[in-house]
């Protein structure tokens, strides 16, 4: 879709393909790149010589344009209906040629200045005159009152239409006074008017905010024509990312933009959307792109909170604080060149978001949107259902047996006889196959948003409020957010304008799910025996006498799921304010000065208890076991910047230059108190804690920057852009804290430069290339050793020690990313086919490695500037429009990304570094000569022939080996849009391939007897296919549970490595534009849409899990699957009103 989007913008300008209405697409008629040439001031050759037979009208028009210098404005749909024409004229006037061309066609034209406007010839006078037919006349003017020529006027729901003449006048017949006239002109807001009792309707059109040419918002918010850009910058269709279903709209980017890899994490509705552009530029955990909203960076780092013996809870990211209804435009700057002006923050690309304003809304504009989503858990489990709960081939014989073996399916064969179970009752010994749907519930999400806007020539405002109420599929877990967005614009004087954007959001996370062990609901649900119905524990999770947890397995760290859900309570509340104030002074028509102050600030209050009576808790010396922790986080970033911009044209040459500076001041602090053991039972406060552990931490840094860019253009087909940015860092040694980041890029419009040589089927050809260097930041205080005192004394003896386990390095530099990119854009066959490809090579040098060093050095790691890595690949978009009829279009967009990475260098003599490990099995490493993200784990001990060695029938642990990379090489999507009259159907299929995962789930299922792979050897023991140390085949049988438990003890990973590739039917959306139905009411627009997310897993290779079920936000955990909540299929319904 996005491919079509791009094409459409080139063709029609941003305004048009508002896909709500097919009519609009067809009616608004123009081609842009021609129009945009109207500024060229060369003389018009009046005479044309042309001799072509049976060619398309488009070809003829192009030729006339080339010879005469006139621009053409026309309705592509109308032209496509025309049959082939033959023309033979010599030294004729333009009028003569056109008359010749159009003589048998239902087309007419008018000439105004250097523009020729072609439109469908006015309908033949209607023969049958209706009784009530009304003739409406009027004048269309622009906001300065100047008459507008060539404005399209149509009667909604009919074929009737006309255009205005040179005086802006028109005349049209309508059938009744309910008729709605639609006035449209390229570059202007379309206006609809109900005829009513009037016969004279004068209309003034206002310019739309977008310009006619495709405009891309580039770094620092500077708008530039797409054609002039020498790198890949993709505008994202805001309608498509605003489909309901995901609470975090970042997830909707998945599969839509080439080069962008999105993971919707399995961490619940309030979770992070993990976005990576062009691979992973560093070995660190967070390679998220910079998010810039209205020119000001928004901290998008995921927020997390700790859990004992478990993964951290994912509490969401910065994108979450944005209401997608507020987004006017979104641009993805993928490469270093695109992002170069962001210098040290640009290594992972930039997502630039501009929010809506109230401009051009003469009356009070009201928009309202409401959606409801139901999310249903998906069950990928396919366990063995032959042998039930129990251990060592024995079924539970008592309640305490049951409560000790609840995590094992190594019992006897199912026979339906009653057995004691974990709830203290007897149940038949039968399989229970529906654990996922029995325990998890349907998640809900209700989102409402409303926006008010108004704007006139002096200024505008827009105020929006949105509210989301969502429930997770885990019980007692929900999420709520409210977002307020305000945009104010005011023209203080003719030259001085001011603008204010402010966004305030409150989001609350209650009991977000997490993986790992203790208190992890997904872990317990997944690991319970295959004959347990999780609901049995609902009323018996708490011991009625002690009030403590009723354990269900001898691994006390696997908490009873209902105990976790109802007793272990976590709460997080985030208040965030971000926004900016801008002053812009137009010093001259070619020169402006802008100053801006932007703020991003949030407060996060987090609290979590460790409930008294949790089975895994240590007994206490005094009081009650359990605990509580409370955490207050503050983040603040202040950016002050200025920008001076100038642009001027000298003949064929144009210059556009900007110069600016930024001062960033960032700080965060954290005040936390955690207490263990309580004086008073069930009172979870820090005051009630016996062992108190307070902590305060602070970190702050400043970066000053100066930057500039210079754009040169020649004849509107050759463009050159150079930028430079210098950053000064407070985090670095003052002797070497200044770094310069240059970039250069260029684009060449082949189709313009050699338009006379271009065959008629080529519409647009652009070549582009660029080189840039950008950087990555270092952390504050990493240059010095610090000491910290312990919070409590030891029997009155105070103590303190070296703070942290990272050895400081005073000589750090920021890392550098050097990227070369080349690309081309093609539009062919009258826009029916378009293609955009980019090739890039991105080298990261001076990579700051948080290197593991031997613990014997006194520290576990240090940071050094030695790493080098490379990402290179191809991004491509192919858009085909197989059908383009008046009432039906079908557009298919295919995007495909191929990215390969290679670790080029680590610290001297170091072939490998470990960057992360999973809860149970496997770890992530970076290895020289291998792609990023090596998944490693232990293999069996093998002999020289590769056969597995067994001792007494049991395999042994062999070497650690690399199984592959956890990062996909291939990512792509197929996006189909079908438009029929007012209906639109959108379907997306996407895939990722070429990567592996290590599955904690799999490993757990195997060792606990749930996995089908654990069936062999249940009777008589496992005779493993291995050899004795002397090479003879193994003949010793090992009892099944003892055998499979060895996978745990010896941490053998080999069996739990999977191909992580998948093809998924991601989305199906049906949208109906109901504006026609309500055209005689006070509602301007209305549309309804229904959406299904995660329609179908078409192909995957993993047992028992969804290969996308990853819950860790960090890149140090890539490909390490750990047990997380099930992925969901969601069904949404939404309605949109505009008043």
């Amino acid at each position: 879709m996005q491919m079509y989007e791009k094409f459409a913008r080139i063709r029609y300008g941003n305004k048009l393909p508002n896909l709500l209405s097919s009519q609009i697409i067809m009616r608004l008629s123009c081609i842009l790149f021609m129009v945009s040439m109207s500024v060229s001031a060369f003389a018009f050759a009046q005479r044309v010589t042309l001799n072509r037979r049976n060619v398309s009208l488009t070809t003829v028009i192009k030729e006339i344009k080339r010879q005469s210098g006139y621009n053409f404005l026309y309705d592509a749909g109308a032209l496509s209906l025309a049959p082939l024409v033959s023309v033979d004229v010599t030294n004729a006037s333009v009028e003569e040629v056109l008359n010749e061309c159009f003589k048998n066609l239902p087309l007419s034209y008018v000439i105004r200045n250097n523009n020729i406007i072609i439109s469908k010839r006015k309908s033949e006078p209607i023969k049958l005159i209706e009784k009530n037919q009304i003739t409406v006349t009027g004048t269309v003017t622009d906001k300065e009152g100047m008459p507008m020529l060539g404005v399209n006027i149509t009667v909604n729901g009919t074929d009737m239409g006309t255009i205005t003449d040179a005086d802006g006048k028109y005349s049209i017949n309508v059938l009744d006074n309910q008729a709605v006239l639609q006035f449209s002109f390229i570059g202007f807001e379309t206006k609809e008017v109900i005829v009513g009792s009037r016969t004279v309707i004068n209309v003034d059109l206002v310019e739309s905010a977008q310009q006619m040419d495709e405009v891309v918002v580039t770094a620092l918010g500077i708008k530039r024509a797409a054609k002039s850009i020498g790198y890949s910058a993709t505008s994202v269709n805001t309608d498509e990312i605003n489909t309901p279903g995901s609470v975090n709209f970042g997830n909707n980017l998945l599969g839509k933009v080439a080069g962008v890899n999105v993971n919707a994490l399995g961490s619940g509705v309030g979770g992070t959307s993990k976005i990576r552009i062009r691979g992973q530029s560093s070995f660190g955990g967070d390679n998220s792109p910079l998010i810039v909203v209205n020119g000001v960076p928004l901290n998008n780092a995921p927020t997390t909170a700790g859990n004992p013996n478990a993964q951290e809870s994912d509490l969401g990211d910065g994108l979450q604080s944005i209401n997608p209804d507020d987004i006017e435009s979104m641009t993805v700057l993928k490469g270093a060149s695109a992002a170069a002006l962001y210098g040290f923050r640009a290594k992972d690309g930039v997502i630039i978001i501009t929010t809506k304003t109230g401009a051009n809304t003469p009356g009070l504009g009201i928009e309202f949107r409401s959606s409801y989503t139901a999310a249903q858990p998906l069950d990928f489990t396919d366990f063995q259902y032959e042998y039930g709960q129990g251990e060592f081939g024995v079924r539970p014989a008592s309640v305490s047996d049951a409560r000790s073996t609840g995590g094992w399916s190594f019992g006897t064969k199912f026979d339906g006889q009653p057995i004691w179970s974990i709830d203290g009752k007897q149940h038949p010994y039968v399989p229970f196959k529906n654990r996922i749907n029995a325990f998890y519930r349907t998640g809900n999400n209700i989102t409402n948003s409303v926006a008010l806007s108004h704007g006139n020539e002096k200024g505008s405002y827009r105020l929006s409020v949105s509210n989301t109420d969502a429930t997770n599929i885990t019980p007692n877990s929900d999420y709520n957010k409210m977002i307020f967005d305000l945009s104010l614009n005011y023209k203080i004087t003719e030259k001085l304008t001011t603008q204010l954007n402010a966004n305030y959001s409150i989001d609350e996370n209650k009991n977000p799910p997490f993986g790992g062990q203790r208190f992890s609901i997904p872990n317990s649900i997944m690991t319970m025996a295959n004959s347990i119905d999780p609901r049995w524990m609902k009323d018996s999770y708490k011991d009625p006498e002690t009030g403590g947890e009723v354990p269900w397995t001898r691994f006390l760290d696997r908490t009873n799921w209902y105990w976790s859900a109802y007793e272990r309570l976590q709460k997080n509340k985030k208040n965030r304010l971000y926004g900016n104030i801008v002053l812009n002074y137009q010093l001259a028509s070619w020169l402006y000065l802008q100053g801006r102050v932007g703020l991003d600030r949030y407060f996060m209050d987090h609290e979590v208890n460790d409930p008294t009576g949790t089975a895994a808790n240590r007994p206490v010396a005094v009081g009650y076991d359990g605990g509580f922790s409370q955490n207050k986080n503050t983040f603040r970033e202040l950016n002050m910047d200025f920008l001076i911009g100038a642009n001027k044209t000298f003949g064929d040459f144009g210059i556009d230059a900007t110069f600016g500076g930024n001062r960033m001041d960032q700080s965060r602090d954290n005040l936390s108190v955690s207490v263990t053991n309580l004086y008073i039972r069930d009172l979870y406060t820090i005051g009630n804690g016996i062992i108190k552990n307070p902590n305060y931490s602070y970190s702050g840094k400043k970066v000053n920057s100066l930057y500039g860019s210079l754009n040169l253009s020649y004849k509107d087909y050759l463009f050159l852009n150079a930028t430079a940015r210098n950053d000064w860092f407070s985090t670095l040694n003052p002797q070497s804290n200044s770094y310069l980041y240059p970039s250069i890029s260029g684009s060449f419009l082949l189709s313009e430069a050699f338009s006379e040589l271009m065959p008629s089927w080529i519409d647009y050809v652009k070549l582009r290339g660029s080189y840039a260097e950008v950087g990555g930041d270092t952390d504050p205080y990493s240059d010095n050793l610090y000491y910290d005192m312990a919070a409590n004394t030891y029997n009155g003896y105070a103590y303190g020690s070296i703070s942290g386990s990272t050895s400081p390095n005073p000589n750090l530099r920021p890392l550098k990313v050097k990227e070369v990119e080349a690309g081309m854009e093609l539009i062919l066959l009258d826009g029916r086919l378009s293609f955009d490809a980019a090739f890039y090579r991105k080298n990261t040098v001076d990579e700051i490695l948080n290197v593991d060093i031997p613990n014997s050095s006194g520290y576990t790691n240090t940071t050094v500037n030695v790493g080098r890595l490379r990402n290179q690949g191809v991004e491509s978009l192919l858009t085909v429009v197989p059908v383009r009829k008046n009432s039906f279009t079908w557009e298919a967009g295919i995007n495909y990304t191929y990215n390969i990475s290679e670790v080029l260098k680590l610290a001297a003599g170091q072939p490998i570094i470990n960057v992360g490990s999973s809860t149970f099995v496997g770890r992530l490493a970076q290895e020289v000569g291998k792609p990023l993200g090596s998944l490693r784990g232990y293999d069996y001990l093998r002999n020289d022939e590769g056969k597995i060695i067994t001792i007494d029938g049991r395999f042994q642990r062999g070497d650690e080996m690399t199984f592959g990379s956890g990062i996909p090489k291939h990512i792509g999507g197929l996006l189909n849009t079908f438009t029929y009259k007012s209906f639109r159907v959108f379907a997306q299929v996407d895939f990722k391939a070429g990567h592996k995962l290590i599955s904690d789930t799999d490993w757990n299922m195997l060792r606990s007897g749930h996995h089908k792979k654990s069936l062999p050897g249940r009777e008589g023991g496992v005779i493993f296919d291995g050899v004795n140390p002397d090479g003879s085949p193994n003949t010793t049988a090992v009892e099944a549970e003892s055998f499979y438990t060895d996978y745990s003890g010896k941490r053998i990973t080999t069996e739990s490595v999977y191909n992580a590739s998948f093809i998924r039917w991601r989305t199906l959306t049906l949208t109906y534009d109901a504006s026609n139905l309500i055209s005689n009411t006070f509602i301007d627009r209305m549309s309804v849409s229904a959406n299904i997310n995660n329609v179908l897993m078409i192909k995957s290779y993993t047992d028992n899990i969804d290969p996308e079920a990853v819950s860790q936000v960090s890149d140090t955990q890539v490909g390490l699957e750990s047990i997380s909540i099930p992925t969901t299929r969601s069904y949404s319904l939404s309605v949109n009103f505009k008043f």
């Binding site: 060592f392 305490s400 047996d401 409560r403 000790s404 203790r518 011991d543 002690t546 403590g548 009723v550 001898r554 010093l587 009576g613 089975a615 808790n617 240590r618 007994p619 002050m640 200025f642 062992i691 602070y698 970190s699 840094k701 400043k702 000053n704 860092f729 407070s730 003052p734 504050p780 205080y781 610090y786 000491y787 005192m789 409590n792 029997n795 003896y797 105070a798 103590y799 303190g800 020690s801 070296i802 593991d852 060093i853 031997p854 613990n855 014997s856 050095s857 006194g858 576990t860 240090t862 170091q910 470990n914 001792i951 029938g953 042994q956 060792r1007 140390p1029 009892e1039 745990s1048 003890g1049």
Partner: protein, 519 residues
């Protein structure tokens, strides 16, 4: 004019923004952490040593036992599990050695901190002895220097050389200690009492010296001589001299999580240990062992049965499956086997004190030194009995009250000393002494483990566990016991060259390789 004015203003603004950035240094100084602290605080932090020694040492010396494989296995099955094997390595280097090396670096040339310097050297020597005894060759001369000297990949030093240096350090440090010099009353073991520090240093030196009995008796004798030289302050002479971490309800015992934590239901007391105590009517048994009725439900274990006659130790060489075939198999209570567990109200309290180096151990070492003729004062019997008495009268150990006096009476002690196997008999002196040393190292299993390898006592039966590590297995050349623990896998994966060199020097990084004093 107006335009010029604006441009000038903005230029001034620029200069203001970028011209003076003196505050960068200030910005990059952490306002809530210190760039230096009194090294005494670091010394106290280093005194809190908490390492997991149950999974290997406790199981190898057959005092602690769990029957499970998987996540909790290690010494109970003679298998090599990195997580438990590398615990001591990572913990000591990452906490104690990191800070002690830093303290030594800070105060080594400070004439006003000679006592503090000596204390740091003694504690450092102790930590390195723990490391050598467990792993053999370890980084020593280049350890802990990542920040101070930029040594991020420390080389491994020869274990014998390290031992030489430890002995030298202990001797020198004790000799430098001087009550008239700097006051270090902020340290936690003895509140700065110099005479006690001397005894601590000398007792450690005695321990170091006695390690040589198997390989170099002359060396042993000479070191023991230096350690016990009364002119140098002597060794520990009462329980007052013990090096003990006095845990409390806020600072919990850092090393006994296995008794009280989430795996508390799987840990039992080993059969040989229960039998030794039971067969000799040991008055300590009732405070060590308990049978809990309520396992595994929740945090309330129920009222324990501490009757010595009912205690039954968990046998070795069995799994949780085939243990049903073991003689005297007592059955299960839920998921928990009905074998004795550590008493959670006494030595297993969450706030139980943690003894590192004790008077009891020291007296028993003296007994052996006297028996071997390294020293000439006192009698073996007196040292032996003083050692037993010392252990029985340790504070806190036998009571449910933190720091409580021992409930064991003189009468119980006297009766015990007359037990046929206990009453001192010179012909089986080494056996008796070292069996008592084994008991006196309850909960300090790294020392029990070292002494077991050195002395060969108690005479334990090898596990012969199916599928045990081939370097340990008798069938493949071992003697059935783990003789050392292997280096952390992390060292292998990133400090490869240095580890390889050490492994080659020692004859392989495996559990069958012996520490130099164990040959």
């Amino acid at each position: 004019m107006k335009r010029k004015y604006i441009i000038i203003t903005s230029l001034l603004l620029l200069i203001n923004l970028y011209g003076c950035e003196k505050d960068f240094v200030e910005t990059n100084t952490n306002p809530v952490l210190a760039t230096s602290i009194d090294p005494v605080y670091q010394l106290v932090a280093s005194q809190i040593i908490g390492i997991d020694i149950v999974h290997y040492e406790g199981a190898i010396v057959q005092q602690a036992q769990n029957l499970l494989g998987g996540a909790e296995e290690g010494g109970n099955r003679n298998t090599n599990v990195d997580g438990f094997g590398s615990n001591t390595f990572n913990s000591l280097y990452g906490n104690q050695i990191q800070n002690l090396v830093d303290i030594v670096n800070t105060v080594k040339d400070d004439p006003g901190k000679t006592n503090l310097h000596s204390m740091a050297r003694i504690l450092k020597a102790y930590c390195f002895q723990l490391l050598v005894d467990r792993y053999g060759d370890v980084p020593y001369s280049e350890a802990g220097l990542a920040y101070l000297a930029g040594i991020t990949f420390p080389k491994y030093d020869d274990q014998e050389g390290i031992y030489e240096d430890i002995a030298k350090e202990l001797k020198e440090a004790v000799d430098v200690l001087d009550a008239s010099k700097d006051d270090v009353s902020g340290e936690m073991y003895f509140g700065g009492d110099i005479s006690k520090w001397k005894k601590f240093g000398n007792s450690l030196l005695l321990r170091v010296g006695m390690r040589y009995t198997k390989i170099d008796e002359n060396k042993a004798k000479s070191l023991v001589g230096i350690a016990t030289d009364p002119a140098r302050g002597g060794v520990m002479s009462s329980n007052e001299d013990n090096v003990v971490l006095k845990s409390n309800s806020i600072q919990l015992n850092p090393a006994n999580g296995f008794i009280t934590g989430s795996v508390r239901n799987i840990w039992h007391i080993g059969e040989p240990f229960i039998d030794f105590l039971k067969n000799n009517n040991d008055p300590r048994l009732q405070y060590i062992a308990a049978l809990y009725p309520n396992s595994p439900s929740g945090s309330d274990p129920g009222v324990p049965n501490t009757n010595p006659a009912d205690q039954i130790g968990c046998p070795y060489g069995y799994t949780d499956v085939n243990v049903v075939n073991a003689p005297k198999y007592p059955g299960k209570n839920g998921s928990t086997f009905k074998y004795s567990q550590f008493n959670r109200s006494t030595i297993g309290r969450i706030d139980a004190w943690l003894y590192y180096v004790t008077y009891a151990q020291t007296q028993l070492l003296l007994a052996e030194a006297r028996q071997r003729g390294y020293i000439t004062t006192g009698t073996v019997k007196d040292y032996y009995e003083a050692g037993i008495k010392g252990h029985m009268t340790q504070l806190d150990f036998w009571t449910s009250v933190s720091g409580g006096d021992s409930p064991i009476t003189q009468e119980e002690l006297d009766t015990y000393l007359q037990q046929p196997e206990i009453a001192f008999n010179p012909s089986s002196g080494l056996k008796q002494i070292n069996e008592q040393y084994w008991v006196a190292c309850l909960m300090i299993w790294h020392e029990a483990y070292a002494n077991f390898r050195r002395s060969g006592y108690p005479q334990l039966k090898p596990l012969n566990f199916p599928g045990e590590d081939p370097y340990v297995s008798i069938a493949t050349g071992g003697d059935g016991f783990i003789h050392r623990l292997t280096y952390p896998l992390k060292e292998w994966s990133i400090n490869t060259t240095n580890v390889q060199e050490a492994a080659d020097r020692m004859g392989g990084d495996n559990m069958g390789t012996r520490i130099f004093w164990d040959n």
